[in-house]
């Protein structure tokens, strides 16, 4: 299969998400908070393309504004956890020995908490809210970056050009920042693409459980959760937010898959 098509579809979806969230006020046909109780649970039609929710709000407008939350969570989570994880992984991989063992043991402990479990625990204590969701996802997200970077640095640090840099007396920090990390950007970018998809799903999942974004803010997961109560009479309330999440995650997965396969010869033969 042509990997470029995957990348193009993925990039198109991601750019669309950017445009939707950037120009939400221009693109939304209605104010997402405007209620019309006379037109509750209306099915999709000409005036409201994706229908109205239980308070008569326009679902399309809420979806457009909800994209801001997804984008914010996705970006901030991969940015913050990427920086923390890269720092920890660089230190562990470059210095090795006891530091490496201690840091990797800490990573193993964090990895012992599957999926959303730690995020749910943290939010149970911190209370729901967007910032707490991002904090909780970062607490879990840095570990995978740390392991990725450590593994890559372990394989790079014995190469001649790094040994030459060490012999020249260049500082460790400079070697890591100038000579090692630039070579790790490709796997980090690919990993971040999948990480962003994971963060968006996690936020939606937490909001679905009532632990994420709180009203009056709008999130796709929260819309899904609200729609679940009206599943029998207004399935469109559930269908469209779910579809939005799936398309964005699919786009990011396609982009990640495409980038990874394009840069990995061995896998390209098989996938």
């Amino acid at each position: 299969m042509n990997k470029n098509i995957f990348i193009i579809i993925g990039i198109t979806i991601v750019i669309t998400l950017f445009l939707l969230s950037g120009f939400a006020s221009l693109l939304s046909p209605y104010n997402p908070a405007d209620q019309n109780l006379y037109e509750r649970l209306q099915e999709p039609g000409l005036s409201h393309l994706l229908g109205q929710d239980s308070l008569g709000r326009d679902i399309l407008s809420r979806l457009i504004y909800g994209s801001r939350v997804s984008l914010k969570v996705g970006f901030l989570t991969i940015f913050i956890s990427g920086i923390i994880g890269t720092f920890v992984g660089s230190v562990a991989g470059y210095y090795g020995g006891r530091i490496d063992r201690i840091l990797m043991q800490i990573c193993d402990i964090f990895l012992a908490f599957p999926g959303l479990l730690m995020a749910i625990t943290l939010i149970a204590i911190l209370g729901p809210g967007l910032n707490n969701v991002i904090f909780a996802l970062c607490i879990m997200g840095w570990v995978s970056y740390a392991r990725l970077v450590r593994g890559q640095i372990l394989s790079l640090k014995n190469l001649d050009y790094i040994q030459a840099a060490v012999a020249c007396g260049i500082s460790d920090m400079r070697i890591i920042l100038k000579h090692l990390l630039p070579n790790l950007m490709t796997p980090i970018i690919v990993h971040s693409t999948f990480g962003m998809a994971g963060a968006i799903v996690a936020e939606a999942g937490l909001s679905f459980l009532g632990l994420g974004v709180q009203p009056p803010e709008t999130s796709w997961g929260m819309m899904l959760s609200e729609g679940r109560k009206f599943l029998l009479i207004a399935p469109h309330m559930t269908t469209f937010p779910g579809l939005a999440i799936m398309i964005v995650v699919l786009g990011l997965n396609l982009l990640g898959d495409g980038l990874r396969d394009k840069l990995d010869v061995k896998r390209e033969q098989n996938l």
Binding site: L122, A124, N253
Partner: protein, 306 residues
């Protein structure tokens, strides 16, 4: 082999210890007063002080930690405020439901992924292969909190074939198991296909073909057995994730397992029960990973453990 098992078991001890410590630290050091969360901001200082003393939160942190470990070794995970029962008992009552759901999801994943993965590898680049890869991508991208309601709309509301929620007979299990197992099926399909494609290029497969063995025998007896080895690792990790994934699935289908109990505990601010649920699921995950490693060593005699 025995040395490996002993070494692996010993390596699990610091992880278990770390998990227990991390849960303790998270509950005690994250900003936010659990007493205030439980009683509300408007509670009087006297009530707060009393609850703090009851929970032992007024003691020095190290003393609290030792008490926490001592209780843990005695199987005492605290008492639920909401249910007024020992947390351990509550969890043990719900555990069979969560295990049933996880095994159901695992069965769904294997039933879908093994034939689809094999067929995709054997007919590489065919329409079936492309279709199954696309389905796998959809499966990975579709969040289970959306798939669940969609399945309810189609199979329970429109077709009326399966119950909407609750735990009872096998019919109650089908929709939750599909919801929880779908993404695992997608991951395994891709994994089996990729692994089988690698295996089919090995020299011993060429030898088997040169000997004139029938293709089904080569595929099932020679290639698949080896191709499934890396899949076992993924299977173990994924099965552990099912325990956490069940939190959302159990909520959607009102399935009376640990996941739903965790959410109930969070909603009712039942702090000891939250702590107990998280600990049990995390430790379950560690032990499933341990079992996976041991199983891997058992089924692949080529592996030499240092």
């Amino acid at each position: 082999m025995n040395n490996y098992i002993i070494k692996r078991l010993l390596l699990t001890i610091p992880t278990v210890f770390g998990v227990v410590t991390l849960v303790f630290l998270v509950i005690h050091f994250i900003p936010g007063d659990p007493v205030e969360i439980m009683l509300g901001e408007t509670a009087s200082q006297t009530d707060k002080a009393k609850l703090r003393a009851d929970l032992g939160l007024d003691l020095p942190i190290f003393t609290q930690y030792l008490g926490f470990l001592s209780n843990l070794f005695q199987g005492n995970l605290g008492t639920s405020f909401h249910f007024r029962q020992p947390a351990f008992e509550l969890i043990m009552k719900r555990l069979p439901a969560t295990i049933e759901l996880s095994l159901g999801a695992l069965a769904v994943a294997l039933i879908i992924s093994i034939p689809l993965g094999i067929f995709s590898a054997v007919k590489q680049y065919s329409y079936v292969d492309q279709g199954s890869l696309f389905l796998a991508l959809i499966g990975v991208s579709m969040p289970n909190f959306w798939l669940g309601p969609i399945l309810i709309i189609v199979f329970s509301i429109h077709l009326g074939w399966l119950p909407v929620s609750g735990r009872g007979d096998i019919y109650n299990l089908i929709l939750p198991a599909i919801t929880l197992g779908a993404s695992m099926a997608a991951i395994l399909t891709r994994m089996i296909r990729s692994s089988l494609l690698d295996t089919l290029k090995e020299e011993y497969i060429k030898t088997a073909r040169a000997k004139g063995l029938p293709e089904p025998i080569i595929l099932l007896k020679h290639a698949l057995r080896n191709a499934l080895l890396p899949v076992v690792t993924i299977l173990g990790l994924q099965f552990g994730s099912l325990l956490a994934g069940s939190i959302i699935t159990e909520t959607i289908f009102s399935w009376p397992g640990i996941g739903r109990l965790t959410i109930q505990a969070i909603v009712s601010r039942d702090y000891p029960l939250v702590q107990a649920c998280v600990m049990v699921v995390a430790l379950g995950y560690v032990f499933i990973n341990l079992l996976t490693d041991l199983m891997y060593a058992w089924i692949d005699p080529r592996i030499k453990y240092e």
